[in-house]
């Protein structure tokens, strides 16, 4: 369905940053590329908001690229289709929203961490990465997902490597990610190839139609390849090894942006493939769901446990991200509307949490030049705004009420109580609680250093981070509180989105 008056809306989130990116490269180093990227992110955010509203009001939107619609007698268009329903509209809005806060934040951090002459290239890569993430989310074509996935990944490798000016380990981190990411992408494309062999189509909706009732070794292998490939990109335990160093050594603004968006988009892809493309008729899905429940729980504990012992705050937060992905997988694994909704809600909320946390750490790196725990000693006295922002978003990560983390935890526990898996519901809930406690320990460790450790005696006086960074960080911190009270966007949209996904999964395709 097209939106009355705004027929071209669905394509804009991809086209705007895509066109803007190469222009950035032509600009003079300094403020111009940054201001341009910021402007683009804001415009894109507005577009995605319009899109979300349109989808909420009018239902899913389909857009045939270049007008290559379905020829007569064929169910699917021959060209690339963009397909937006509530699930991806929500993720789109999230990605663009995070970008519109992180891009303005990036200025001082980038100035200090990256070679001045490279700034146009940096913002170009950033915009391309942004394009890729939006493209992956918006497209309704399985192969197009791969294309955008590579667009975002390739630019991400470059962005992470730019952290090398601060710490040369960024280069190995980036290279590791490149190898792992490429394997993941290859797995994905092999999976798509197998599905194409079986069905002759790449359109997701069409795939769903064609796959109905098909369950042979080839389709199963395709499914396994896709899930594994995305699982690698998602940093699902035990395929997570690239993530900690990549987040740790990347420039601070990049850590904040990636932690809040990249893995979230992959969660969406998993949801899309599991429920929209394959669906419950596909018996093999059960295997994946059971695997997710185990991997989710293992990830929650293993990664949280590792996080407790990290000496670098960025790395600690990176491991925490892996643990949080465990929660999302757990939500998916329930295979219920509540579970999938909980997963989507956590995607949204965790993006807010991690963006705020990484932005806070970025402020510390800017002023103190390090993200080691030692740098955080007595931070509440030296940089009170940053420290308290970190504490509030840290509490949100733990799941303390009055923050979004509580909503996530609540919905996940609520979903867990209503499931019937091979693990008793109460046990799952208690495990969720227990792993939250691990989060409480590592966040407590950080808060302890900031609040109670004395400032090192030989420390030079430091100023607070620049206003721009502090304000953008606090926008994220306040969003953590705001979306506790305003759950329409998260719970409301996510529940309907999950409903739509599962309806398709159960084969009531029309219920979109």
């Amino acid at each position: 369905m097209a939106i009355p008056g705004l027929e071209q809306l669905p394509v804009l989130p991809v086209v705007i940053p895509l066109v803007a990116a190469p222009l950035t490269l032509l600009m003079k180093p300094g403020r111009a590329p940054w201001a341009w990227a910021t402007l683009v992110s804001w415009v894109t955010f507005v577009v995605t908001l319009l899109l979300l509203e349109a989808v909420w009001v009018h239902g899913p939107v389909e857009y045939a690229m270049g007008g290559w619609g379905a020829p007569e007698g064929m169910s699917a268009p021959i060209g690339i289709t963009y397909y937006v329903d509530l699930a991806n509209a929500l993720v789109l809005t999230l990605v663009a929203g995070i970008a519109s806060v992180v891009f303005p934040y990036a200025y001082y951090s980038v100035e200090s961490e990256i070679d001045h002459r490279q700034t146009p290239a940096f913002y170009t890569a950033l915009l391309i990465c942004f394009t890729g993430l939006l493209g992956v989310t918006i497209t309704g074509d399985a192969f197009n997902v791969f294309v955008f996935l590579e667009i975002s990944s390739l630019s991400t490798y470059a962005l992470i490597a730019m952290g090398a000016r601060n710490d040369r380990r960024a280069l190995t981190a980036s290279f590791n990610y490149l190898v792992m990411g490429t394997i993941g992408a290859t797995f994905y494309v092999i999976g798509i190839g197998l599905l194409y062999q079986a069905t002759g189509t790449l359109n997701m909706l069409d795939l769903h139609q064609q796959l109905m009732g098909q369950s042979n070794r080839m389709v199963e292998a395709g499914f396994a390849f896709i899930i594994t490939g995305i699982g690698l990109k998602l940093a699902m335990v035990p395929l997570h090894l690239w993530l900690p160093n990549a987040y740790c050594y990347a420039p601070s603004a990049i850590s904040a942006f990636l932690a809040a968006t990249a893995t979230k988009v992959q969660v969406y892809i998993i949801l899309r493939f599991m429920f929209s493309v394959f669906g419950f008729e596909f018996a093999f899905l059960e295997v994946a769901l059971n695997a997710f429940i185990v991997l989710g729980i293992v990830g929650m504990f293993y990664a949280s446990f590792v996080a407790v012992f990290r000496d670098n705050v960025k790395q600690m937060l990176a491991y925490s991200s892996i643990a949080q992905i465990g929660y999302m997988l757990l939500g998916i694994s329930f295979g219920t509307v509540d579970g999938v909704a909980a997963s989507l809600i956590h995607v949204f909320n965790h993006a807010l949490i991690k963006a705020a946390l990484f932005m806070g750490v970025g402020c510390v790196v800017l002023r103190l030049g390090s993200s080691n725990f030692a740098a955080f000693n007595g931070l509440a006295k030296r940089m009170p705004w940053t420290a308290w922002g970190l504490i509030i978003s840290g509490l949100s990560l733990v799941g303390v009420p009055l923050t979004v983390g509580f909503i996530s935890k609540w919905k996940l526990m609520e979903a867990a109580f209503q499931t019937q898996t091979f693990i008793p519901p109460l046990l799952i809930v208690l495990l969720i609680g227990a792993s939250s406690l691990l989060a409480a320990i590592y966040i407590g460790r950080l808060a302890y250093a900031m609040l109670l450790q004395p400032v090192p005696e030989d420390a030079e006086p430091v100023k607070e981070a620049p206003h721009l960074m502090r304000i953008t960080m606090w926008i994220m911190v306040l969003a953590n509180i705001w979306f506790f009270f305003q759950t329409d966007v998260t719970v409301g949209v996510a529940t309907r989105a999950a409903q739509a996904l599962l309806d398709t999964g159960l084969g009531y395709g029309g219920a979109y």
Binding site: L395, V398, G399, V400, P401, L402, I407, K409, W410, K411, M413, E414, F417, Q418, L426, V429, L430, I432, G433, A434, S436, L437, A440, I441, G444, Y448, L451, L452, F484, F485, T487, V491
Partner: protein, 505 residues
């Protein structure tokens, strides 16, 4: 008439005013007299508001308002019933007494960061009132967590190694049990019933349509376990170690928070859950409560036994608190009207009594820097007013008339005998005897024994603590005697919640 304010307005004010007080305290950082003035004025107004609310509640009103609905069936909402009104009055009233005492103590011991100290107290009192007035489990949980977090800086006030270790245990256990057990319990309640509202007669008992679950269902046992251990502030063994660990805090913190606000928030929560979530009669039908009855009885005895071995007066009082809190849990788990009423009156009586004891312990420390009982021999002759106040408080804890503590113990014994739990009856008597041993002997030796060698006095006159330390202790000590005579109005006030208890019936 008492006031021109509606009870709703009084609730608003009492929940918001401490925040303004907080900023006032912050602004008056450099002028201690103004700063303490702000605390006292805030305290006085909040207390007055709590009285207005309590008067309205005693007239049958149930004032309340909703702040925000988070998810359907899940709102931040306040509504006061008698139990909460009582807790509100106790907490806000004793805050004033404690603030007076804090002035004497904090200045007497030259503590640092006094502004932060008073700020955190303001948040703590706000969250205690939030707990008292909460209309559902979600609101209760929110303020429960705020209370934990706001008291953490108070526990670690001294900022030395011992304070940090104590603080770690404090925060670890309270946050751990609340997120790990209490939150699942609340979510499960929500999943089973679709709401978390405190409902008179019990949410699970379920009004006209009949119960949602069988009273004998194992789910009830699981839920009760999650609640009983999840509300860690009730210090039911084995969730008690945070309480002794919190004794590293300055004494006003121990006196007010760890004898009144925090621990009473815990047992208040247990009572609320038993009365409003399960329902007293519903719980009495099943078998789930029995286990916790025995556990609470065990807590009473074990904590008393540990208390006897403590030489540090504050740790001895802390274990005594663990033991006394389990009285309330016993009252709740007896699941009878009389038991619940006994538990509720114990909240009031123990608050007054234990606060007296803590304030006396602090007064001894301020005057002579002694915290070990073995160093206090003969000290009573130098500080008779402090020691006599301590003895009055101890009488109340032991349960001797004419002190308030005798009533709850009487009601609990009655109810235990009535419900056929003779062993609990015996436990309560044994506990009284143990109380005598560990609370009274040190004080009597303070008067009888020769002066211990560490104490040296130049002149032969009294060496009392500052008046700001001494007077508050006497206020609460006299309070225990007053409450003894006015227990009947209190029981009548609570009757709509506990049900008619019918003495002699």
């Amino acid at each position: 008439m008492l006031s021109l304010l509606s009870p709703e307005m009084a609730m608003y004010i009492s929940l918001i005013l401490p925040i303004f007080g907080l900023f006032g305290i912050m602004l008056a950082d450099k002028v201690p007299n103004v700063r303490e003035g702000v605390t006292l004025v805030t305290g006085a107004i909040v207390f007055y508001m709590a009285i207005i609310v309590a008067v309205a509640v005693s007239g049958g009103a149930r004032p309340g308002f909703e702040v925000a609905e988070i998810i359907p069936g899940l709102a931040i909402r306040f509504e006061v019933e008698p139990l909460g009104a009582m807790f509100g009055v106790i907490a806000s009233g004793l805050w004033i007494v404690n603030s007076l005492y804090s002035i004497g103590y904090m200045r007497g011991t030259h503590e640092k960061h006094q502004t932060r100290f008073y700020m955190c107290f303001a948040i703590a009192i706000m969250s205690a009132l939030g707990i008292a007035y909460s209309a559902n489990l979600l609101t209760f949980f929110i303020f429960y967590e705020v209370l934990t977090l706001s008291t953490f800086p108070l526990v670690t006030h001294k900022e030395n190694e011992a304070a940090r270790n104590g603080g770690r245990i404090y925060l670890g256990i309270l946050l751990g049990t609340s997120i790990g057990l209490l939150l699942p319990a609340i979510v499960l309640t929500y999943v089973l019933t679709g709401t978390t509202e405190f409902t008179l007669g019990g949410l699970f008992a379920g009004g006209a349509e009949g119960p949602i679950l069988m009273a004998t269902s194992p789910v009830i046992f699981v839920l009760l376990a999650l609640f009983a251990f999840g509300i860690g502030k009730a210090a039911l063994m084995p969730i008690h170690p945070w309480l002794p660990a919190a004794m590293v805090a300055p004494t006003p913190v121990s006196a007010f928070l760890h004898a009144v606000a925090v621990v009473k928030a815990g047992v208040f929560g247990i009572l609320k859950v038993v009365i409003f979530i399960f329902g007293v009669d519903f719980l009495a039908e099943g078998w789930a409560a029995d286990f916790f009855l025995w556990l609470a009885a065990f807590s009473v005895l074990a904590a008393s036994a540990i208390a006897m071995t403590q030489d540090n007066l504050k740790s001895r009082l802390a274990f005594s608190t663990v033991s006394q809190l389990s009285y309330v849990t016993i009252g709740a788990m007896l699941a009878t009207s009389m038991g619940v009423a006994g538990g509720a009156t114990q909240i009031a009586a123990h608050a007054l009594g234990k606060m007296t004891l803590f304030m006396c312990a602090g007064a001894i420390y301020v005057a002579h820097h002694k915290s070990l009982i073995s160093e206090m021999r003969g000290l009573g002759r130098k500080m008779p007013f402090t020691f006599i106040a301590f003895i009055i408080g101890a009488f109340s804890i032991i349960g001797l008339p004419p002190m308030a503590g005798s009533w709850p113990k009487f009601m609990l014994m009655w109810s235990a005998a009535d419900a056929g739990h003779q062993l609990v009856f015996v436990v309560l008597i044994a506990s009284s005897l143990m109380n005598i041993v560990y609370l009274l002997t040190p004080m009597l030796r303070g008067f009888m024994d020769p002066m211990s060698s560490g104490l040296k006095f130049d002149k032969d006159c009294l060496a009392e603590a500052p008046l700001f330390c001494l007077v508050p202790a006497w206020i609460t000590a006299i309070g225990t005697i007053v409450l003894f005579f006015y227990i009947e109005p209190l029981i009548a006030f609570l009757e709509p919640v506990t049900g008619a208890i019918g003495f002699g019936g």
